[in-house]
Every structure is written in structure tokens, then in C-alpha cells.
């Protein structure tokens, strides 16, 4: 049975609920995870069902509750931890990147770290430099995290269940403009989501739209902007393929490279900062696998290495928009091998 669902927030919460109902090892930790469902809805309804024994509002102490997650995981629990906005990672990152991400490796495989981290990402609604970042590139850079970026409700549910069954640290980056919550703009689509449990395998990108003239590669919100850009391009007779990475770690090289070989032109679109990030990594993988098939240098559109400014015209100038994706795609189509 399926029903229509709007946004990823409820899908993630439902996934946790369905696993939690059969798994005593799962507890939910973080700020405002009870009344407020972790603010962006990822834990909504869980407190009402499981109570404060299993759904726990922590003091504002990221370093401590992430450290506690590492400790609880080391003795067999599966903590689900909310990092309310990814921007707050600095307040607890040591426990994440030096411990949660490394203890399995450093202990020679003795300590599993089954920790699922839920965090909200992205801008576009005026929340400024400390509440609008994406930052998954930082996590993807550190060995030891699986990096999950759902773009649809179907994926959000299946990827979350996969995360909860994974014996490793998994960070789920939910874009605020895809949550489907009434107080934020919604750029996703209502879609059918099964009521039963299912998983979406990590490391399998989705080709959201097939095309032959160029490939656009993105994750999260930018998948939807690329889809809209592809529709516009289609009106001008351009056939664009859109790839939704779904997970940055593990990365589906095969799908990316196959698409690049097919179209010969690649545009990577990212809401994270441009330099030393996802776009550079994907570009590397594309050239490594499809160098001889490329008809033009790879292009990228990302946040141009500035913090996200508050004022609307400034914010619009830095976060990739449909119009700028279209413009960049057209410019790429006009480019030759030397452009």
C-alpha cells in the first residue's frame, strides 16, 4: 500500500518509527526532539509514541551528546542523533569526526559505530550565514561517514531505514526546502510512498531524467532545480540528463561515468561551497572514467566560496537557481574542447 506524501520530514520520521517499534537498541537524542520533532520534523511523532525514555531532549551540548552517542554505540546501542542545523557541527564535530567516524577503524574493527545522524541543511529562505549551510562536503571528506542526501520522500524513507540497519555512522542531510513543513517553501513534489518498510541501497544514484545533450549531476534540493532547468532546456530543444547522487559516500561512479560517456558534457550543481568539495570530487571521477568521451571541459555551479549572506538579492546571487543552471547549461552546450 502506498499513499501520497509531501516532503522528506515525515518520511524520515516514519522510517525511524517503524524500525524503533521493533528495535530496542534505537534511541533518539538531540535538542528539541520531543515537542518540536527536531525543528525540521525528522523526529516528529516519536516522543508521543515512545516517551522520554527513548526520545530524549538533551541540554544544548553537542560535544557531549555526540560523545554519548559514540559511547552508547560502543556497547551495542544504535543512537539516532539530531544535529538540528548542520551549521552547528562545530560545537560537536570532534566527537563526530575523530571518534564516531574513526573508532571502528582505529580499534582494528572491534568497535562498531552504528550511529545515525540527522541534520537539516540549506538556505534560500533568509536564515543567513550560520543557519543556511550545506557542509556535507566536510563529512564526506573525513573517512568513516556514509553521507546520505535524499531528494525525495521515497528515498528519504528507504535511505533512513538502510541507515538504521547499517552498522556504521551514517549522516542524513535533509534539505529544509524539501521537508514539506508548512512554514517553509517546498521545492519537492508530492509522491507515492509505500507504507511498508523498504530500503534504498546506498551508492546507487538515480537517473531522474534521461537525456542526450548534457548530464547534470546534483544532490538534495539541487536535483529539483536541475529537473526544472531540464524542463526549460527541453523547451529550447535541449535534452538534459539529470542524476540524483542520493549518497555522496558511497559514491556511484558507474552511473556518473556512464552518463558522462553518453552525453559528453557534464555540469555539476551543488549548494555546498565550491572549492575543495563535492563538485571537485565528481569532476575528478568523471574525467577519470570518461576523459576520452568528453566534448568540453566539465562545468560546475556551486556557492562561490562566500558565506551565505542574509539579504535576499545577495542570497539569490550565491545559491544556484534554476535560471543560473539553465544559463550555465547553455554555455556548456556552446563550448568546445578548449572552452
Amino acid at each position: 500500500m502506498t499513499r501520497t506524501m509531501k516532503g522528506i520530514a515525515f518520511a524520515i520520521a516514519e522510517a525511524i518509527d517503524q524500525e524503533m517499534s521493533e528495535r530496542p537498541d534505537i534511541v533518539v537524542l538531540g535538542e528539541d526532539v520531543t515537542y518540536w520533532g527536531a525543528v525540521f520534523g525528522f523526529t516528529m511523532g516519536l516522543y508521543e509514541k515512545y516517551g522520554r525514555d527513548r526520545v530524549i531532549d538533551t541540554p544544548i551540548t553537542e560535544q557531549t551528546f555526540f560523545g554519548m552517542a559514540a559511547g552508547a554505540a560502543s556497547v551495542g546501542m544504535h543512537p539516532v542523533v539530531s544535529l538540528m542545523f548542520v551549521d552547528f557541527l562545530g560545537a560537536g564535530f570532534d566527537q563526530m569526526y575523530n571518534h564516531i567516524a574513526k573508532n571502528h577503524y582505529m580499534s582494528g574493527g572491534q568497535f562498531a559505530m552504528p550511529v545515525t545522524i540527522l541534520t537539516a541543511i540549506g538556505g534560500g529562505y533568509g536564515d543567513a550565514a550560520q543557519h543556511s549551510q550545506v557542509l556535507y562536503g566536510l563529512f564526506a571528506h573525513v573517512p568513516g561517514f556514509k553521507v546520505v542526501v535524499p531528494a525525495t520522500a521515497y528515498d528519504a524513507k528507504g535511505l533512513t531505514i538502510a541507515a538504521l540497519r547499517d552498522p556504521n555512522p551514517v549522516v542524513i542531510f535533509g534539505h529544509k526546502l524539501l521537508t514539506g513543513l508548512p512554514f517553509l517553501p517546498f521545492e519537492g513534489q508530492e509522491e507515492a510512498v509505500p507504507e511498508d518498510r523498504y530500503t534504498v541501497e546506498f551508492g546507487k544514484a538515480a537517473v531522474r531524467r534521461e537525456g542526450s545533450d548534457l548530464t547534470m549531476i546534483a544532490a538534495g534540493l539541487m536535483v529539483h532545480r536541475c529537473m526544472r532547468a531540464a524542463e526549460e532546456l527541453a523547451r529550447d530543444g535541449v535534452s538534459a540528463e539529470v542524476i540524483d547522487l542520493r549518497t555522496l559516500v558511497p559514491l556511484d561512479r558507474e552511473t556518473i561515468v556512464a552518463s558522462a560517456r553518453k552525453t559528453g558534457r557534464v555540469l555539476i550543481v551543488d549548494e555546498d561551497y565550491q572549492s575543495y568539495g563535492m563538485t571537485g570530487e565528481i569532476a575528478f571521477q568523471v574525467q577519470a572514467g570518461a576523459f576520452d568521451a568528453l566534448k568540453a571541459p566539465i562545468r560546475r555551479l556551486a556557492v562561490p566560496d562566500v558565506p551565505i549572506p542574509f539579504s535576499e538579492p545577495l542570497e539569490r546571487a550565491v545559491i544556484p537557481s534554476v535560471e543560473r543552471i539553465v544559463a550555465e547549461a547553455k554555455s556548456l552546450l556552446a563550448a568546445g574542447v578548449r572552452a
Binding site: I60, Q63, Y125, D127, H131, P313, A317
Partner: protein, 345 residues
């Protein structure tokens, strides 16, 4: 914090003994009215385009909005002792602190509207207000204010300057390790630092009793041997007196203090908050302690003001706010090209 109002004799004694003059108290009253009017006007403009469907991205003021209506006495009671070269580091809820530090209301409003005439040329927004001239800064990251204020205090002491630094923070923020870490360093190095904890009972939706092992944060500071005050944050006189002692002590080189001001925010954590974590009755009860009429009543009992004086001060404050907000509304937005400059000097 349900203290009965003092008898007139007590009030006279307290006020005279602490050196509060009619001028100071009237100025405090006006300043609190200014902050109240400023925040209520911002709230009013914030909802333009956000009704009936509340959408954070719509209207002339976008994003989150944290206001401190009800907490004016804390900001003003501390701010009145500060001079331009003293530093203040505030939080995600900073406009009342900014105004109390003397940040001009027009540039502050313009920043909140994202205008190029704003304090930060529209780059900061309401959670990131900076005014170098008044040494005012803040952060949307909870717990960040403590060490930054300590750093300014360190610089003052290091250079032999007679300035103090004030960190404002919520009772929720004081659960963060930065509070304890800062207290330790501040005592160790005898820093001219005053930490002001606005204990408004909630951190987001989380009531204090759910997140705090002691009834109060100041008790933790006592563990570091830091002189600490628990004051009625809805009482300007109480806050003013504690702040005077703490700031004079810091200026004179005796080191840090903590003031925990028990107060209440009448509005939600942010605008649009459904407030499912507290009752209407609780908010109404605290309304009876509203610091502005409370101070007004006392001014009248002391014979230092009549209704007409209070009305005049309130109107003056409202007019100043109206001018500031009009300035903000009429100012231009920044040129999009500005987004790409300013990462480095």
C-alpha cells in the same frame, strides 16, 4: 521570582543607597520603551506576507526572528553601565542587547530588513548584528558568546585598558561547555568579564527543568569561585544594582562575575512558534510582572514622574522607532555583486 513590591520607604532606601537618580531611572524607562516598541514594530513588519500561511521566506523580513519582549530590563539594567569601548557579545536573540549598548536603531532596523544601509550592509541579518564602533557583536551559535567576551576582556587586561566585556547568554546556552571553560579561564586570568545569563526558563521548546541539573546556572559559577548574583530580571532596579557592582568590580581589576537574571519572553522562541511547551496562563502570569509598567509605577510612587511624563517618554521612544523603521523600509537593497566581496579584507 514573586517578590512583593517594596514599600515606599524600602524603595526610597534601595534607590538612594544604590545611587539611582531620577535622570537614570527615567532614561532607563525610555530605553526599555524604545526596545519594546522596536521589537513589536519589527514583529509587525515581519508578518507582512506571512499571513494567513506562515512562510519564513516571505515578506520584507525573511528567515527566523528571535525577539526578547519582556526581557528589556536585563539588557537596559546592564547596558546603562557600559561605555562605547566596553565590549558586548550577544546571542541569537540580540536586538535588545544591541539597542541597550547604544547601537543606532536606524542601522539596526535596516540590517534586519536586509538593506545596504544596515549595520552589516545586509549581510548579517537579525542574528548577526555587528557594530565595531560600539564594540557590539553576536552569534547565532549557542554558547559562542562566553569565550568571545572573555577574549575581549583578555585584550583589555593585557593592554591595561579600563574596559569590561559582557557576555550575554541564555540559561540554555550556559549548559554548553563554553560556559564552564570560560569561567575557569576568566578566574585564572582575572579577566574584566561579566557574564549575564538571561534565565527565561526555556531553551527553544525545552523547559529549564528538563535540561539543568541545578535550579540555577549561577550555582555553577560559584563552584569556580566567581561572585554571582541571582536577580529579578523583570525588575530594572535589581538588575541595575547587580550590574553596577559587577561592572565596577571588573573595571577595577578584580575579575569576573556572573549575573543570572530570571526573566521571561512573552513571545515565542521565534516568530511562528506554536508554543506547545507552555500554557497561556503561564504567559499571562508573567505579564503581570512586565518590567516597563513595573518601573513606571515605581517612578510614580517615588514622585519622580507622573502619567504625563511616562506617556511623553513612551511617545518619544515610539517616534524614534518609527523613524528608524521608516529609514529601513525606504533604504535600498544591496547590489547582488556585493555578495561576492568581503570574505577577506
Amino acid at each position: 521570582m514573586w517578590k512583593p513590591e517594596p514599600s515606599l520607604a524600602d524603595l526610597r532606601y534601595t534607590v538612594e543607597k544604590s545611587g539611582l537618580t531620577p535622570e537614570t531611572l527615567l532614561a532607563a524607562y525610555r530605553q526599555m520603551c524604545l526596545i519594546r516598541s522596536f521589537e513589536e514594530t519589527i514583529a509587525d513588519r515581519y508578518y507582512i506576507g506571512k499571513t494567513p500561511q506562515f512562510n519564513m521566506a516571505a515578506g520584507p523580513i525573511r528567515g527566523e526572528m528571535h525577539l526578547a519582549v519582556g526581557q528589556e530590563a536585563v539588557a537596559v539594567g546592564v547596558g546603562m553601565h557600559l561605555r562605547d569601548p566596553d565590549a558586548v557579545v550577544s546571542t541569537h536573540r540580540p536586538p535588545h542587547h544591541a539597542l541597550a549598548k547604544g547601537v543606532p536603531a536606524d542601522k539596526l532596523a535596516a540590517e534586519i530588513f536586509g538593506k545596504v544601509t544596515g549595520l552589516c550592509r545586509g549581510k548579517g541579518g537579525h542574528m548577526h548584528l555587528f557594530d565595531a564602533e560600539r564594540r557590539f557583536s553576536c552569534s547565532g551559535i549557542v554558547g559562542a558568546s562566553f569565550p568571545q567576551a572573555a577574549g575581549a576582556a583578555f585584550a583589555f587586561r593585557h593592554r591595561g585598558e579600563p574596559h569590561v566585556a559582557v557576555a550575554f547568554a541564555g540559561e540554555g546556552a550556559a549548559n554548553h561547555g563554553t560556559f564552564a571553560e570560560t569561567l575557569n579561564a576568566a578566574v585564572l586570568w582575572r579577566l574584566p568579564l561579566v557574564i549575564v545569563i538571561e534565565d527565561n526558563m526555556y531553551a527553544d521548546s525545552t523547559p529549564k527543568w528538563q535540561a539543568l541539573a541545578q535550579p540555577h546556572q549561577f550555582q555553577r559559577a560559584l563552584g569556580f569561585n566567581v561572585p554571582s548574583y541571582l536577580v529579578d530580571g523583570m525588575d530594572l532596579v535589581d538588575v541595575w544594582r547587580a550590574a553596577k557592582e559587577a561592572i565596577e568590580r571588573a573595571r577595577a581589576g578584580y575579575g569576573p562575575s556572573v549575573i543570572e537574571a530570571v526573566c521571561y519572553r512573552y513571545r515565542g522562541h521565534f516568530e511562528g512558534d506554536a508554543e506547545e511547551y507552555r500554557t497561556r496562563e503561564e504567559v499571562e502570569r508573567w505579564r503581570q510582572l512586565d518590567p516597563i509598567p513595573r518601573l513606571g509605577e515605581r517612578l510614580k510612587r517615588l514622585g519622580w514622574a507622573d502619567d504625563a511624563t511616562l506617556e511623553r517618554l513612551r511617545r518619544e521612544a515610539e517616534e524614534e522607532v518609527a523613524r528608524a523603521v521608516a529609514f529601513a523600509e525606504q533604504s535600498p537593497l544591496p547590489d547582488p555583486a556585493e555578495a561576492l566581496v568581503g570574505v577577506f579584507r
